[in-house]
Symmetry: C2
Subunit: 492 residues, 2 copies
């Protein structure tokens, strides 16, 4: 088969790469840090994107498209933003190649085609978008602006990993403009809930909603809200962020509006995004040593049917039975494929669709036809059941829903089992190295302590949970007073 997978226990990181590559989600490319999203991976992304897009539109947002390039001087305008992104950006300096006079058939940069001002390939679009909003916003009647963009962005990361951290990635970025601070905060929070809803109910992945510490905020934000998920190796993964940007970008780009009271005021902003990184989270959260496990609601393929037969006569019988089942499944909106390719054995196909994480596999052979049943295998538990052909469509509809729930419950149980309350520095280090997961502990609120903990253990504060309760305590590291617990973890 050539498809042997590394097990999680042997090498979690290699297991992940194996799944992404051999499962057909993505491939390395010839361009450093950039990946190719292959058709199966892209079909998954399309399902995720379409569902998110629907949720954005239902909450009043519209899509638009802004330029790929950000002039260098735009990036400079918001200081924190510039510092955050300047060190990892692709810079366009020329607009033409020419034939190399010393090297036949080769091209070289044409030195006469140097740009007066360099263009940055967008690492994010606040700067270019707020420069446009300046012309679009005059009065309170022009507000709010609720725009989202689906786009590619580039951040020149030094260490890359397929989906989790790539130089180029696909994402959506919402950029909204509001008349008041309250409205902007409410928007940032609303989008956090939309993200949580999507990740939990479609990706079957429970998340913790929280706020980032100042250290971990987006470059240019006053507050960064986040959803944090837990992977099977006990490391956390930030699955989405939503930023309250205050008036920082309005001030940088001089975006003012006339209030109802006829006064000029700066506009309030949010931005929020999720990316193809979510695919990495999906893979690491649900998959097993046999391959990917796709949550039914976003699976590129929900059901595969494999025929078992000897000779054309048996095949014809199976074909006939399958065509009825296919039609009834399609009528119920289920994506289904009949794999009757004849150059590989059924066993090979079983392994292949397990690797790809197709939620439900149906097998039909001559004996099944005699008994008017099919064999149904669910990917999550690998349990096989013989099911009467009659009403098999409804059985599968219910089964897909059951698998979706089971994946969520399984991930939730693991996550709940991996939030550990810790009150001493010794226990903190012990839990971090021996058990992993989230550590709920007191923190004195200072950047210095946060930095020192990170230096000593690599653990970061993932978030201050939105639902954190007031509780008197002492900082795990400094012993200073603290009024609530925060969540620490090693993270992707």
């Amino acid at each position: 088969m050539g498809n042997e997978l590394t097990s999680r226990a042997t090498d979690y990181s290699q297991w992940y790469n194996d799944l992404v590559l051999k499962g057909g989600l993505a491939d390395y490319s010839a361009v450093r840090g950039c990946m190719v999203i292959k058709p199966y991976g892209f079909a998954l992304w399309e399902n995720m994107r379409d569902q998110l897009d629907k949720m954005f539109k239902e909450t009043g947002h519209v899509n638009a498209y802004f330029p790929l390039f950000v002039p260098r001087s735009f990036l400079e305008k918001e200081e924190g933003h510039a510092e955050g992104f300047a060190k990892e950006c692709a810079v366009v300096t020329h607009y033409r190649l020419k034939t190399d006079p010393d090297n036949k058939g080769k091209l070289m940069v044409d030195p006469e085609a140097k740009l007066e001002e360099e263009l940055i390939v967008r690492p994010t679009s606040e700067a270019i978008i707020w420069n446009a909003y300046k012309d679009w916003i005059q009065s309170y009647r022009d507000l709010p602006i609720l725009i989202n963009q689906w786009a590619n962005v580039v951040r020149w990361e030094m260490r890359t990993r397929l989906f989790l951290r790539t130089a180029e990635f696909l994402w959506q970025e919402g950029h909204t403009a509001h008349a008041t601070s309250e409205e902007a905060v409410a928007e940032a929070e609303k989008m956090l809930h939309v993200y949580a809803d999507f990740v939990e109910n479609y990706m079957a992945l429970p998340v913790i909603k929280g706020v980032k510490t100042p250290n971990e905020r987006f470059a240019g934000a006053l507050d960064t809200y986040c959803i944090e998920a837990l992977m099977q190796d006990g490391k956390a993964l930030q699955a989405g962020t939503s930023h309250f940007l205050g008036q920082n970008f309005a001030k940088a780009f001089e975006v003012k509006y006339l209030t109802k009271e006829n006064k000029q005021e700066y506009v309030w902003a949010t931005s929020w995004g999720v990316s193809t990184r979510l695919i990495g989270a999906l893979v690491m959260a649900h998959s097993d040593d046999e391959g990917l496990v796709m949550p039914p609601r976003i699976a590129p393929l929900q059901v595969v049917i494999v025929p078992i037969y000897k000779g054309p006569e048996q095949k014809a019988l199976v074909d006939e039975k399958v065509s009825g089942i296919m039609a009834s499944l399609k009528a119920k909106g289920i994506t289904v494929k009949y794999d009757d390719s004849d150059h590989v054995r059924p066993g090979w196909k079983f392994a292949e669709y397990e690797l790809k994480g197709v939620p439900v596999r149906v097998a039909i052979g001559p004996k099944d036809i005699e008994n008017n049943v099919v064999e149904i295998a669910r990917r999550d538990t690998k349990i096989k059941t013989s099911v009467p052909v009659e009403n098999v469509d409804q059985y599968i509809v219910d089964l897909l829903e059951d698998i979706q729930q089971n994946l969520y419950n399984r991930a939730l149980a693991y996550r709940e089992d991996h939030i550990t309350k810790v009150d001493t520095w010794e226990d903190f280090k012990k839990v971090l190295t021996e058990k992993g997961g989230f550590i709920s502990a007191h923190w004195d609120g200072s950047n210095e302590t946060e930095d020192k903990i990170k230096e000593e253990t690599k653990a970061t504060i993932r978030c201050i949970p939105l639902n954190a309760v007031e509780e008197e305590g002492k900082c795990i590291y400094s012993g200073k007073k603290s009024s609530r617990r925060v969540l620490f973890a090693l993270a992707y």
Copy 2:
């Protein structure tokens, strides 16, 4: 209103810009040659994209995503391709900015972060994709590959126009790989028909299908198929192209496959694309001096309802009537908006939705309610009709279909009236300057003649129509023998 439009007769080119800008389709950006696609324009693009995507999938294609960057050396590999694109590409030479030591708060390119090999922002993706296909194709079983990509591309055009010619634009590019030449040619032709189907039946724009002359071929293609449309000013616009690439890219990237007969052979290729340029075609084909005219099947908004009232009591009556109509229209899948904003008058709204080209406008006032009717205005002919509320939903469904047909018929009548058979050079020049449109004339088949005609008149051969009949004749310019007519025109 500030929305006065230049008329077509006054200045066609300014009229076009007015419509795009004031109609809310797009805006200029701070980045030379790049535009912002505004929400209304992007909603139009989404409708076009979704329909095309559906048609691609129905013809067996899948989507994927390849890197934004093409290493310089990849572009060099296919000679014709390199020549075609090297002179107009954005070149990334560095991967980092740093703080300018001499200029506080400013950023500069970090000279230490120079790339060993420059990266080109993709002007098209043949090179990067065929480099990937090399790893994906071993045997005939891996063929065909039928992949499409939705992406942004950059071509550093010197003279740009919103939608028609921009440095960055959005498009789709299909890239397919086949075992035989015949299969590849059939694919290129199939996609040409898909494009024609889309442009004619959704954009309501008749096209001529043809083949480009060698001069006008895509850089790297053996044959370029195209669809050509006619704009209201008598100039042609290439609306889509489909290329038979032969084995050029397979040879450049060493992509061979093992045949059933166990021989190594080079793979055959096609590529095909349409872009946001189609939006420019749409604007120029159907719009009038009052604004945009959207074909119902892809209109971002199909129906707008405007209330006419004095005081809250009348408003309440209108609201109630409208809510029933809205519900029944939505149930029929029609996009409808009730614009009851109260800071502008109905007359202002009428003009605004005319400018935006909304196909159907419904107005309801107290007298209409008394008579149980609504006033319906169609955008294409501007005819108003009083229609009973009962069954108004079905009336509108039929009306939208009628508008779609009428737009197509109108454009077709204009096009048919602007294909002129010409047999002398004098007539050629006369028709070109005085009437415009397509000129059907004999051509001797040589690049030289084609070039000279272009030099003297700016007219190009738009295509050799697929349905061109054999006909003995003499070249319009050289007098040499010719066996069929081709279509000339001034073009966008």
